[in-house]
């Protein structure tokens, strides 16, 4: 089902800067469709009439002055095109609800579906901080009244306050497994490139919606395929997982130690016969890091 989106691709003052990452500026671009509609692409309960969105995202890669101009142009253009191609392949091959849809390619600008939801990294870090503060409060109370019976502190009800880490690990494993099954590696798997979408998902999807507290189902969205590649190479698949593993270790030391294990278990289930080779290679890649001659 396709929808007509009418918008003006040239930059204007209507564009709002959402964020500026290391590589690109992300703008929110208003469409010329009826703005009374919702901001996301929705399917009605009977599966008909996709509503056109009020906004799009423009991911604009900017030139880097520190790079040689030849290298710079090559990188920004090729990454833009490569990202678009990979996203389109994802949509075509069954991952349409877990990556943003491509609307228009205008290197170095890429127009994508506007998806709104908390960034996974920010969410996890905020939650870790909350837990830390709660523990501090507990300790302070212990000190003040050491014989006081430990009372349950009511959890502050915010959207994802009781996230299940095991569930999150499985979702990640599932998502990456599905990605690798269509022979795409992401190239930059980190929690900054993942998002949690809370919009109600279409019921004609095969995916099981796992609900967490307060009836707030979420799905994991993968972004930023600029370093991605279409490849069947076992080495590349293993390195893709390795990059994620190290990113989780360095950015989220508060995650349970078996997080990666749960993730890989689910990954293996999704990948079936291909899993053994990739996981074996992952072990080798890990050893390479530890065994390196580090002199000088």
């Amino acid at each position: 089902m396709t929808v007509q989106i009418v918008f003006d691709p040239s930059p204007s003052s209507d564009w709002t800067l959402l964020s500026q990452g290391a590589e690109a500026r992300v703008w929110r671009v208003p469409t010329n469709n009826d703005t009374n509609r919702s901001t996301t692409m929705e399917v009605d309960d009977d599966g008909s009439a996709l509503k056109p969105p009020s906004f799009l995202v423009c991911k604009e890669r900017f030139a880097k002055a520190y790079r040689h101009p030849d290298l710079d142009t090559k990188l920004t253009k090729s990454r833009c095109r490569s990202e678009a191609r990979l996203l389109e392949k994802c949509v075509k091959m069954g991952l349409s609800h877990q990556v943003p849809a491509v609307v228009r390619v205008d290197p170095p600008k890429l127009f994508l579906e506007y998806l709104d939801g908390p960034n996974l990294k920010t969410f996890l870090q905020q939650r870790a901080k909350q837990q830390q503060q709660k523990r501090k409060r507990h300790r302070q109370e212990e000190e003040e009244e050491p014989h006081h019976q430990q009372t349950e502190i009511m959890e502050e009800k915010d959207s994802f306050s009781s996230i299940d880490f095991d569930d999150l690990a499985k979702r990640m494993g599932q998502l990456i497994g599905k990605l690798h099954n269509i022979d795409i590696i992401h190239g930059d798997l980190t929690t900054s490139n993942m998002m949690m979408m809370t919009t109600r998902v279409p019921t004609n999807d095969n995916e099981e919606i796992i609900e967490i507290d307060d009836n707030q189902p979420y799905r994991l969205i993968l972004l930023d395929f600029g370093l991605g590649k279409s490849t069947t190479s076992v080495e590349e698949h293993a390195v893709d997982l390795y990059v994620l593993e190290r990113a989780l270790q360095s950015t989220h030391p508060e995650l349970p130690t078996d997080f990666m294990e749960s993730l890989l278990q689910e990954y293996a289930t999704i990948r079936e016969a291909k899993a053994r080779e990739v996981l074996q290679r992952l072990e080798e890649v890990r050893k390479r890091g530890r065994k390196r001659e580090c002199f000088g």
């Binding site: 002055a65 040689h68 030849d70 390196r292 002199f295 000088g296």
Partner: protein, 387 residues
């Protein structure tokens, strides 16, 4: 000594924001002047150095700013000797170890003389509170050669030993020398390429090379095109690159925050037959350094920090510093770069990291004073930094 190997003024301890010293530390004795002096010894690759760092406690008054005398760290001496292999060869463990064994004692003597010129020669060791040495990572023979000297001196002078991680030494020296309290660290040398950020008492490796280090890549390329190793292959590549004009497209491999250099090395070795040395050096630098700057920028975006510290021998390269400066300016941050005295392996950096360990009671017993070729930066618990 005709010229000082340690020409900087003392550094104020307040800027580095480490934890205040625990009050019950009694495992070392300051010298007769009330100072804590640590002698640091480094020799994990082809450079052997002895550095002397003095910690002078301040008066810890907080009543008025005028009365407050900050604690200071001062490098009193930092002599170093480099083993340069013949052109076309890399430096091998055996010859390097012999070189270090030959020079370590004269370096210790020279360092003591420069640090305490007014003391009698036999009195100088009494001013040293502890001896720091590189535990690892590095090359086996060279590491051990220096460690044996450290152990001997610690027994002779009856002072504690401090085993130091080489990478942490670079980082602590960098923080001290530049005043950057908590930067993203790009550590680039012949044996290491890591992007590091501090979190919760550990130096966490965000990105690194998945095959060879950048310095190793440059050194090997220098051999292929027959460049001299004197003063260092990287320096000679840098000079040739300045005369390069054509940019030759080379493989650019960044995987997340990791980088890979073996592909580009293979490619550039083949191109050596058809292009000028100048153009190749130029193109190689532009590509390799762009990869490093990109991964550093990602780490900065990921951690939300705006300071970058470049450490390690390759950090001396002016073009790398220039590119990093440009990137950081566009983001509104700062680059903290050092000169060759501290970028390149040296003894004072080991002494610096050692002093922090000493202050927090982390001495190394003789039976634990072994060396190891593989020692990850994130294995060290940086107990001296605020969690």
């Amino acid at each position: 000594m005709s010229s000082s190997t340690a020409a900087d003024a003392p550094c104020n301890a307040d800027i580095i924001q480490n934890l205040p010293l625990p009050s019950n530390v009694d495992c070392y004795t300051p010298n007769k002047y009330g100072d804590t002096v640590v002698l640091g010894m480094e020799g994990s690759a082809n450079k052997v150095g002895v550095g002397i760092v003095r910690y002078r406690p301040g008066n810890a008054t907080t009543d008025t700013d005028a009365n407050h005398i900050p604690a200071t760290y001062h490098i009193l001496a930092n002599p170093r000797k480099t083993y340069i292999a013949p052109t076309g060869q890399g430096f091998l463990p055996k010859e390097t170890a012999w070189h270090h064994q030959q020079h370590i004692v004269p370096l210790v003597k020279a360092a003591l003389e420069e640090a305490f010129p007014d003391e009698a020669e036999h009195d100088r060791p009494r001013l040293v509170s502890a001896i720091a040495y590189t535990k690892g990572p590095g090359m086996g023979g060279p590491l051990l050669s220096v460690a044996v000297c450290a152990r001997t001196l610690s027994l002779l002078w009856n002072v504690p030993l401090l085993g130091v991680n080489h990478c942490v030494g670079h980082i602590e020296m960098g923080r001290m020398a530049t005043g950057a309290s908590n930067p993203v660290v790009l550590y680039v040398s012949g044996g290491n390429t890591q992007v590091i950020a501090y979190s919760d008492q550990r130096y966490r490796i965000f990105g690194e090379t998945i095959d060879i280090a950048i310095g190793n890549c440059l050194d090997r390329f220098a051999r292929v095109i027959g460049l001299s190793n004197d003063p260092s292959p990287g320096y000679n590549i840098e000079q040739l690159a300045k005369q390069g004009t054509t940019y030759i497209p080379l493989p650019y491999v960044v995987k997340g925050m990791d980088v890979s250099f073996s592909g580009i090395l293979t490619q550039v070795e083949q191109l050596a037959k058809t292009h000028t040395k100048e153009d190749l050096c130029f193109s190689l630098q532009e590509t390799l350094f762009a990869m490093l700057v990109e991964t550093t920028e990602r780490a900065m975006a990921h951690t939300g920090q705006d300071q970058v510290l470049i450490v390690g021998g390759v950090g001396c390269n002016k073009r790398l510093q220039e590119m990093m400066e440009q990137m950081v300016q566009d983001r509104g941050g700062t680059v903290c770069a050092m000169d060759h005295r501290y970028c390149i392996d040296n003894g004072a950096m080991i002494a610096q990291a050692g002093i922090f360990e000493l202050q927090f009671g982390q001495t190394t017993k003789l039976q634990d004073s072994w060396c190891t070729q593989r020692f990850r930066t994130d294995q060290v618990q940086a107990i001296w930094r605020a969690p």
